[in-house]
Amino acid sequence: MKKLIIPFLLLAALVSAQPSYTGPMPVPPADTRPDTLRRAYHARVDETLDWYLHAIDPAKPLTREQALVKLVRGQDAAAVSQRIIELLSVPQSGDMFWMFPWTAIAFTGRDQLSPEARAAIREAWRTYFPMRGDTENHWVMYYASLFLMTELYPDDPGETWFNGKSSAENHVEAKGFLLHWMDLATTIGQGEFNATHYIGEYAIPMLYLAAWAEDPAMRQRGRMMLDLLMAELADNTLHGVLRGPNARTDDTSVLERWNALATYFSWTMYGHTPPPSGYGGWGIYFAIAAHHYEPPPLFHLIATDREFDREQRDHKRSRRRWRYSDVEMMPVYKTGYIRRDYAVGSYQGGVTDPIQAHVWDVTWREDDPRGVHNTMFSVHPHASARVLQMYFTEYPDWMIDLLASQGKPSYGVPDKILGCSPYEQVFQDLDTVIALYAIPPGENFQRVNGFFSRNLRDVTEDASGWIFARGGNAYLAYRPLAPYTWDELLGYRQLPRGNSGYAWERFRPEGPVDRILVSPHANNGTIVQAASADEFESFEAFQSAMRALPLEFTLEPRPTVKLTTLRGKKVAFTYGETPVVNGQPVDYSRWKLFEGPHLNAGLGSRKITISHGRQHRVLDFNTVTTSDYVTP
């Protein structure tokens, strides 16, 4: 907390202080009437916009974002017009990250900008050729932008667009992809699910469609997809903090769970956590159109009500596999269990995204999550050129070297804690997780890394083999199935970027550091059990309860665990076999698109029901309708 107070005091003197980031933890409003929630939502949006306006230095030219915010506020259209012409007078770059900001400026400024500025924007869409990219979020940004811009300029011939296709051709193509993506997401699930950062790359384009699409069906679909994204966010966050599993996260967010762009959306939508620094960077591009959208009150209730325990099961899919796989997209069976004090989440293991997936964790509640590494999990530090080739259309031998220079420093290091492995299989029942590993000979790293946060308290290596710890108001028990040692987890410090791209050095952070439990054994496993401190008279009582649980395990020839969980479930799990609970094999074929107290949908249904108590919202992509109802 101290490290937050000091910058707060410094920033307090500045006009451009970011109030909610540096201020105290927000308290969810007791008054949840729609008008109160609506006012609070729009006030948070305005805070973001104000921060950008206040940061304007009259002595410096406006940034693109500042120019955009001025348009949102209807200020200085002439000066903004001139600045836009200047911004576009130099070579452009940024690909699809260029497209959506300029789409936002084109639409926000269409009634304010000078004819010359509008002409400059239009001309840029002829002369600058953005790449479409190789990732689903790239395509959503690319095609949503192209869809909107070709509606703004509907009759233009091919020679006026960067890609040589006419407005009509581009419009049809953009619509085709967007419908395809929405169809996938509402039949077999999102690919980049629960992404800590990339949620913005989906939410922003969907907001723009909802705000500006002329086609009423696409406008409605944009709003419905945004509803789905925000409802999922509400359901998957613990007091505003998105926890695992995540199709994609990064070396920072996987530890400091709050520190993610997803938190910006939690804050904007529901106001129950502080926003990240700078409103997450891309947050401004949501804020500029956020007045066109309001989350329904029932989403707020889903996000903030953590007074009853709940389990949610969702069907997702992996990133597209180009080669070396019998399936194009691996089905993902995702489990989430949330209680007031902690959340446990997982998918079944395997590779969903080859670099940035996060398979499972226990994340506990902190009164103030800023700067706190409030999570526990283990990983096999897998790195493989062949697996990268499944997902990327690249040659094998240079990719691992390249990733660090492209901003992903941990991919090829033995002590990494980010990523997934083809040799990890996971089963979760409520707040028990069993992760088994069978790492074949020849793999680079014959070890399992367990993450032990610097913020854990009372870490105790018990003679029973369990390691006990406290995180927030949660009790945690971690059982490594093979011998281990401890290492400090070093950080990654970015060096000045030179000709070799991103450069990094490892460093030991000041003060208490995170540790990794290093278990250098190929056949291996981790069991984690979480519980609320309120369930036990003492931490010692929790430990006694854990020691008393029936547990058998073997590692040869394959890891096998038989455990009676703290919740009384008899779980048997062998690597390579279907988990068995109370004598019944888990039937993944019956997994629905969404199943739980808050989100429900059948696989392939295109129809999602979002609920809290008596309130319901149905997103029916078959009929492109949203309907709300209240059960008597």
């Binding site: 180009w322 194009e328 080739q389 901003g407 791209g501």
Partner: protein, 339 residues
């Protein structure tokens, strides 16, 4: 732009440029990017990328749009202003020599790795796709899949090459082997199986029945019967990926292979023996592509993240030819008669 030009031209000016007597019969097009190290999608570009054309002074000048992910080009033999490029967003076609472009493919085809024009039916264009094979019958304007005979899974295709002696006879190098069609991709059959990706397939300019292929883990392959049967080529390491293979059009029997891990290998006896030719290349001799100039037999080695190097003694000595910090994805020599 001036900075880029000066950087690429300067070494040549210092070295005296091309031999004074050389009046190239071919234009040389490079497809690739400079300032590549550390670049990711969405990066701010500080240089122009995509198509580079050899200048009269021997340097390389960027042409047309800035596009950092162009992989390979194929020219229409009737008119060199018309060519097609495999780019990350699809197949781009230009009809004005690379100044303006149109994407012929839609959202359902992406990241083509190579493109080829049938010299005997030049309206037919083939694209190697990460999920199969795309064909255009109208000079790249529209595209459709023709994958009958390819497996449902296992059809990642890295390279497509047309037999210059027979219209509609095309080879595809995929993750499961070499596939052949003899009816313009209406039907494919596998002529050689592999467990990893076939990265390049080339036809000898001296003997149309002689073909070479290189791969990710099966080493180099040779065919002497027009690609109907293939056999491993002895003496080539197969532990590391081989990226491309070229015949020297000026002298039969000379062959070169590029490899990011191994560097450059050459043979001057038609593949019977092989020699590493990395002396004189940067210590990290990460050769992304090699090529041989059909006008003078100059051997090129494009170093990934480094410069373009050339050798006039088939790899015994090297000198830089500009294009620092580049990734040259392909060389295309276009007869000036096609202009």
């Amino acid at each position: 732009m001036m900075k880029t030009l000066s950087r690429t031209l300067l070494p040549l000016l210092l070295l005296g440029g091309l031999p004074a007597c050389a009046a190239p019969a071919h234009d040389l097009y490079l497809f690739g990017a400079v300032n590549v190290t550390g670049r990711v999608i969405g990066s701010r570009d500080v240089a122009k990328n995509g198509v580079f054309v050899r200048t009269a002074e021997g340097g390389f000048a960027h042409r047309g749009i800035n596009y950092p992910a162009m992989l390979g080009g194929a020219f229409d033999p009737r008119d060199a202003r018309v060519f097609h490029v495999a780019a990350i967003c699809g197949v781009l076609t230009t009809t004005d020599g690379g100044f303006t472009w149109r994407i012929g493919t839609g959202w359902d085809m992406t990241e083509p790795k190579a493109v080829a024009v049938d010299p005997n039916a030049p309206d037919m264009v083939y694209a190697a796709l990460p999920d199969g094979l795309g064909v255009s019958a109208d000079r790249g304007h529209s595209w459709a899949r023709r994958e009958n005979g390819l497996p449902a899974r296992g059809k990642y295709t890295q390279i497509v090459t047309v037999d210059r002696t027979a219209a509609g006879r095309v080879f595809a190098g995929s993750e499961t082997g070499i596939y052949l069609t003899e009816d313009a991709a209406q039907n494919w059959r596998r002529v050689f199986p592999t467990v990893d990706t076939v990265t390049d397939i080339r036809q000898s300019p001296h003997d149309p029945k002689h073909w070479l292929a290189v791969s990710q883990s099966a080493g180099a392959l040779v065919s002497r019967d027009g690609g109907l049967t293939w056999a491993p080529l002895a003496g080539i390491p197969h532990q590391q990926a081989l990226y491309n293979v070229v015949f020297d059009p000026t002298r039969a029997g000379r062959i070169a292979i590029a490899s990011w891990s191994l560097g450059l290998l050459t043979s001057e006896d038609d593949g019977a023996t092989w020699v590493f030719r990395n002396d004189g290349l940067p210590e990290k001799h990460r050769v992304w592509r090699t090529a041989v100039d059909p006008d003078n037999g100059r051997l090129y080695a494009a170093i990934d993240g480094g410069a373009l190097y050339g050798s006039d003694d088939f790899g015994r000595t090297w000198r830089p030819f500009g294009m620092e910090d580049s990734r040259i994805q392909s060389f295309v020599f276009v007869p000036r008669a096609q202009r």
